[in-house]
């Protein structure tokens, strides 16, 4: 780790990087933002913005379960609950004829309520309110390997899931006729999104996590003409906004997550009139 810090200090001799917590935050952003940039493309194409929002909220319940079970580190219950919750929503969505947004809304409300009931017992919610906003400056060197692992895992899964997802987003029946297991693909994708949301929720926060997934992809699709420029454009936008947002938050002394999302929104609004076609 010290080696990495030394390299960063040499090639990036900026005053905001003199602190270790800023170096960690920058590394975390370099790992988190490409994840969301990639997954966002298909979340937008498959109209899943609301779904990922619900997943973000379910992090509260994951933490609450960890607290109930008396666990010190709530990452594991959060991950397990997130994956289970994502699979459950997908299952109900596939087996019910009710509209998807109603189902997601029911699940989302239920998980927030359960999380709040547990976490606010005895008026103790203030202790967990950091989860709502997130703080990327509190990333430690020990947290980084988990993020790196998530990035590698997601990238590998993504190479298998991307083509099936693309075909499924155009027409599920057509995709099935070409031998794609569309339901399995949907499970795989939602579980990946759940994993990403859970490993980064502490740094980004429940309120903003969804923006990080949706905004870069939404901006990129305004500018892109094909799948290659769409995906890499989305990754680039999230990376640039991530780094710029961190620097901005340092000088303005404000929340980094919020600054990043604000920049993503700015890019989206700039891209809007540039829409091709």
């Amino acid at each position: 780790m010290n080696g990495i810090y030394a390299v960063m200090g040499t090639i990036l001799p900026f005053s905001f990087l003199q602190y270790t917590f800023m170096k960690n935050a920058l590394l975390a952003i370099l790992l988190i933002t490409p994840l969301f940039g990639m997954l966002g493309t298909m979340a937008v194409d498959n109209k899943m913005a609301f779904f990922s929002d619900a997943l973000g909220h379910s992090a509260l319940t994951g933490v609450a379960l960890g607290v109930v079970l008396g666990m010190k580190d709530q990452m594991l219950p959060m991950l397990l609950f997130g994956v289970l919750w994502a699979a459950l929503i997908t299952f109900v969505k596939q087996h019910s004829r009710m509209s998807a947004d109603t189902i997601i809304s029911v699940f989302s409300s239920a998980s927030i309520a359960l999380g709040l009931v547990i976490l606010s017992r005895g008026g103790a919610f203030a202790r967990y309110s950091s989860l709502l906003v997130g703080d990327v400056l509190s990333v430690t060197a020990e947290d980084l390997p988990l993020l790196l692992g998530a990035l590698i895992l997601v990238f590998v899964c993504w190479t298998f899931l991307f083509n099936p997802l693309l075909l499924t987003s155009v027409n599920a029946s057509l995709a099935r006729s070409r031998g794609i297991r569309t339901k399995l693909t949907e499970y795989g994708f939602t579980i990946l999104v759940a994993l990403c949301v859970m490993v980064s929720i502490r740094w980004v926060g429940v309120m903003l996590i969804n923006s990080l997934l949706i905004l870069p992809a939404a901006a990129s699709r305004n500018l892109a003409r094909n799948a290659v420029s769409y995906l890499w454009g989305s990754v680039l936008i999230s990376l640039v906004c991530g780094i710029a947002g961190l620097i901005l938050s340092y000088y303005l002394n404000t929340s980094a997550g919020a600054a990043i999302v604000l920049l993503c929104a700015l890019v989206y609004f700039i891209s809007l009139p540039l829409r091709r076609r």
Partner: protein, 264 residues
Amino acid sequence: MRERGTPVPVPAPVKGASKELSGCRLCRIEVDNLSVKRDGQVLISDVNLHIHCGELTALIGTNGAGKTTLLRALLGQIEYKGDIRHLTGDGRPAAAVRTGYVPQQLEFDHSSPVSVQDFLAAAFSSRPVFLGISRKVREMARHALMRTHSEHLADRPLGALSGGELQRVLLALALTPQPDLLILDEPVSGMDENGLETFYQTVNELKKRNHMAILLVSHDLDVVRRYADRVALMQGTVIEQGTPERVFASKAFEQVFYSREGRE
């Protein structure tokens, strides 16, 4: 309709397609006593239908007659009771029957920046499209599009195509790899007169050249009259089948289409 088990004469091989006609190839599909139930409700029952290679069989009928249900059973996408047999010219089971499918309507996100080439490459190759498309797959896509006279559409976004252009792209996809059975579900919705004519001429050309069985679901009786070799009229089951002339002149046809129109 021929009796089951009677050998069906294979039509004279078309030039260039002779090696496609070896013994293990599909010659006809026999649907026997097929029924589909969903949530305790009978959608179609006792469907008997033969679909022959080198012919275009049209399914007609009003909305809710079960045409799409029958297609989905043939595609293996829903559970059914009864038999669907794929047979060769001498009545033996045909090996590895490939089905190409052109879906009814695409309710996809038209603002998505996916080009025609991306879409085809995602179906043709396992390499993820975002890592770039290899020259081989590009060539495959171009070749597929050429078969439906749409190679100029390769770089256009899928969402920017007209109804007719989109149908030709979907047909190009359904034809690669070359299917034994091509299923066209209502491929004319949202197509202009010109696009419709070109589309069916292409289908007709392909039918002759590739000796495949084509099953078409259509509401356009004029198209059916001109391009179908056989027609099956459905209303919960197949109530009349045969040549277009025969079916169009039948009492059942009149009841389904004209008495209904009179009511409206």
